[in-house]
Amino acid sequence: MSLSQVITRDLRLALRQKSDAATVVLFFVLTAALFPFAIGPEAEILIRIAPGVIWVTALLSVLLSLDRLFMADYEDGTLELMILKPLPLELTVFGKVVAHWLISGLPLIVACPLIGLLYGLPLEGLGVLLLALVLGTASLSLIGAIGAALTLGARRGGVLLPLLVLPINIPILIFGVAASDSGLSGDPVKGPLMILGAVLLGMLFLAPLAAAAALRQAME
């Protein structure tokens, strides 16, 4: 069992059951398309709230899909066997997050221009929005993985995930929206993008460690 095996296996599982990839994107698109029904079709308001809606829905989509990141493997005993394997659990976790992001984060970003179209966003600023989403969703996936691992063992798992993860994600949300807003209005975007990048770097290091520790705990 090697890192690449972990990744390809998760990708293959997702492609075979197709659920993961499609869930996240569809959930994202449908939820984003739902807001106009609730808020009203006036173009000015929709443009005003579009980046916020896109970021919140992206955050929710990633979180919800993460919730079951380790669950299937935990329930059918795969996780036990993975722990027995020589590959460090940290790497296994990292592989699973990478696969998860490829399956759910990436399609979400690809679908984003569609939402832009529905909300009448100008095409020019979309590039920054997408870049910010790449950095943001990657961090969100990593943080979510910690939450998903922590909730495995805890009997009150379901509660914990949003409780743990949503507050940590608020900075990402704020800087993500800031970058997107600036991008759409043509203002400088370097600042918030740099911060998003820094958060991602930190999480790349921290999240596998924390998640692996939580998983070991959950096996007891």
Partner: protein, 213 residues
């Protein structure tokens, strides 16, 4: 000195003591059968040996050094077959097995594993279509696909038909001939020659687990 041994082990689960002062020792080529009534702690002891659980007291050694000093390397030389089968429904039997095979496992070895438990005709069948006995056989095939010194088997005979049962006892025999160790919990006869046996105690009514929701 024994290759794999435990001394004065005690284990609590769900707030209740499952066993205490449990001692065992195994040498290369030996087999240990865990028997005892339901709930006596056979599965618990196996999970302890696999390092999933830590004993609340006592000590476990592998070739002289305690396993908790380097749990990962202890875990690297054991194989565990428990009640959960880790079979993914959308992967074929072959793909399921291949994932658990060791990295340098030759096709030859994989073919061997499939043949031993008569899974070769099922190689292309997705996991979700397997019957209960076929699932268990696929799990046992891991033992051959990824060789390990110590086999921990939790009721390996469950759901197997006659042919698979004798394949299992044959596989265990040749593993022991190569110096491998086997610990198996079972209620039925597994046809293992001259195995040591460890009888676990009875569940005592006064020993109720504390109720924790």
């Amino acid at each position: 000195m024994a290759l794999f041994s435990g001394r004065d082990l005690a284990c609590f689960r769900g707030g209740r003591q499952v066993f205490s002062d449990l001692t065992f020792s195994l040498d290369a080529g030996e087999a240990l059968l865990l028997t005892g009534p339901n709930g006596s702690g056979k599965s618990t002891l196996l999970r302890l040996m696999a390092g999933f659980l830590r004993p609340n007291a006592g000590q476990m050694d592998w070739s002289g050094s305690t396993v908790y000093d380097d749990l990962a390397s202890h875990q690297a030389h054991l194989q565990y077959v428990g009640h959960l089968d880790a079979i993914k429904g959308v992967l074929t039997v072959g793909e399921n097995l291949r994932f658990w095979a060791c990295r340098d496992a030759s096709e030859q070895r994989l073919g061997d594993a499939l043949d031993t438990f008569e899974l070769a005709p099922l190689e292309q069948v997705p996991g979700r279509l397997l019957s209960s006995g076929q699932r268990r056989r696929l799990n046992l095939a891991r033992l051959i696909a990824a060789p390990a010194d110590l086999w921990l088997l939790d009721e390996p005979g469950v759901g197997l038909d006659q042919a698979a049962l004798s394949a299992l006892s044959e596989v265990i025999r040749s593993h022991r001939d190569r110096g491998g160790l086997v610990v198996a919990a079972t209620h039925t006869d597994l046809f293992i020659d001259d195995a040591r046996s460890l009888q676990l105690g009875t569940f005592s009514a006064s020993n109720l687990p504390e109720l924790v929701w």
